[in-house]
Symmetry: C2
DNA sequence: TTGTATGCGTTATCAG
DNA sequence: CTGATAACGCATACAA
């Protein structure tokens, strides 16, 4: 099942066999025929480990993202990202290794990626866990080319692909302002990633531009992203007299919506709502939930493309960014 | 950055260094100290490709599933499966390679898995595409140990982990029967996988046991799984005078629900509905959608466990099955 | 157009 | 307790 076996069968040398298979130097068509026939006969498949050992390239890329937690409403955003990554890698016949980490990180466990330690891959696609500095250290230590996804890290320049969260958030808040809302609440996660940070910035920019005061009681930054937390936030902001709420996370959106409905608030008459991320079911609740739609598939696809470019041209400079526009999807809740 | 480098640094042989690192034979504590120190100093990481070449084990497993299609409501079921797989593999420090295929298969493209051709992995976890026989051929040809997930294939005995779809389906239909429904429709996909087949069987068994006639106009088997198809099915079964509908797919469930609501049918008064798979949003529509809940995370976890067992004991016989119970989640629609 | 020989990093065998 | 060395499968520099 090796190149040597084929060499024996055909009476050629391993060099000729190798070249015949890879088309890497001229081989008489006669020899080529023989080699291909023999290869087919024994079902030859190149051993990628040997190739890797020899060339230092595995044609494999790792994707590192926050994971799904059992029993929790999963964050399917990264599934769509993965689909995009996979699609792009496929075009160049790269394999995809997946590693996920728990978020928030368990205290007890240091941030370690088996994949990195094993030196499998040619490059890395990473949704960085910004609350854990060692994440970045690990990545840098691996000395592999990498592209960040969904979250950038300002401290150093590198390739990344993110959504224009600031703008998406701004537009959502502006829309509610234009509909006459003046006590607009913000529900989000703690500002540990550029994504959540930028969404908060967009909210604040809109308030500032319109001359609205910042009311701390209308800003709710949750430590964990769960439906329960979302419901709690819904209760708090209702109490604080909000007449609109922008929720910058999809799971919290469910919670806030559920609370408001359960408490008998009319949406959008009593309080208007815009959420984050776009799912089909948002059309099926009453009212439909307007939301800021990201394009996760594109995000993954573009990130993979960027990484492949870099793998093809190692000398290329870092720091190329790609910021994807969001789309405000209007249903009935705003 | 290799074992040899460490050997030079410490003045020991590569053999000793290797054993010191892996604890595979006795090494004086003094030597061990030196080796570990040197390793840390240069940031040594074992080269897995070399290991693989030597041992024929990569500690890597591939998961092959239907993929997410861009712009389509994704099937997130397999995301949860993947989470379970990942969790179990992690426990044994295995890496996970992901490959997806399009379903339904493009005609033009033969069923090929780069992963298999490259001989990356020690074993395979596969959601088989039953409509494409070459899928199985490919798997067999790879001669790797494998475990099927979500769908079994009766033709040959092998390890698999599936849901008890027949029973889940049966219970759903029975519930609607007990609520007095007599014209119960079935909406599903074409019977190309054991999963969809078994769901249909459960439906038929219930009808048969209760002495209900089988009405062909109440059975809708869709070629593609989309919301539009689901809506079309909804229209057809309403026309056919169904007073209940069991939908055996999560995406079709959205479509059927959307149609019925749009057409002004009261659920469950005019027509009752039970869907498949369980998502949070099913609680937020009105009425909440009752559904047959599978346990995808468990499914992945168990499948990975089975595979690891087999990798640890190659002589072990095939044919161990694991069938997971479903749970009927009652909301308001039944 | 073809062949020979070397080395990639690791482990295991054998011999000290 | 330690060391020398072969072998895993492949690609390539060099030689013919």
């Amino acid at each position: 099942m090796s190149i040597r076996k084929i060499a024996e069968m055909t009476g050629l040398s391993t060099a000729t066999v190798s070249h015949a298979i890879n088309g890497t130097r001229a081989v008489s068509s006669e020899s080529k025929q023989k080699v291909l026939a023999a290869a087919a006969a024994i079902g030859y498949r190149p051993n990628i480990a040997a190739k890797f050992l020899r060339n230092n390239r595995s044609k494999t890329v790792a994707l590192i993202t926050p994971g799904v937690r059992p029993g929790m409403p999963s964050n399917y955003f990264y599934m769509d990202v993965m689909a995009g990554v996979h699609a792009r890698l496929n075009e160049d016949e790269y394999s995809l290794i997946i590693t996920t980490y728990e978020e928030p990180m368990e205290e007890s466990r240091s941030f370690s990626f088996g994949v990195l330690e094993k030196q499998w891959c040619d490059g890395l696609l990473v949704v960085p866990n910004a609350s854990e500095p060692s994440c970045i250290e690990q990545i840098l230590k691996s000395e592999l080319p990498y592209v960040l996804i969904d979250r950038k890290i300002d401290r150093f320049p590198c390739d990344y692909v993110i959504s224009d969260n600031e703008k998406g958030s701004y537009e959502a808040v502006r829309l509610m302002y234009e509909r006459g809302r003046r006590r607009i609440a913000f529900v989000g996660s703690q500002l540990r990633t550029s994504a959540s940070h930028d969404r908060y910035l967009g909210y604040r920019r809109c308030l500032a531009e319109r001359g609205l005061p910042e009311d701390r009681s209308l800003v709710l930054l949750n430590g964990s992203l769960s439906i329960e937390e979302g419901m709690r936030s819904g209760a708090l902001l209702a109490q604080a007299g909000a007449d609109a709420v922008f929720v910058s996370d999809n799971i919290l959106t469910i919670g806030v919506f559920r609370y408001l409905k359960g408490a008998g608030r009319r949406i959008p008459e009593d309080i208007s709502l815009i959420g984050y991320d776009d799912y089909e079911w948002m059309s099926d609740v009453r009212p439909g939930i307007s939301s800021v739609k990201q394009r996760p598939y594109e995000m993954g696809y573009r990130a993979a493309a960027l990484l492949l470019e870099r793998l093809g041209d190692p000398g290329r400079a870092e720091g190329r960014a790609c910021t994807l526009d969001t789309v405000l999807v209007l249903r009935g809740s705003h």
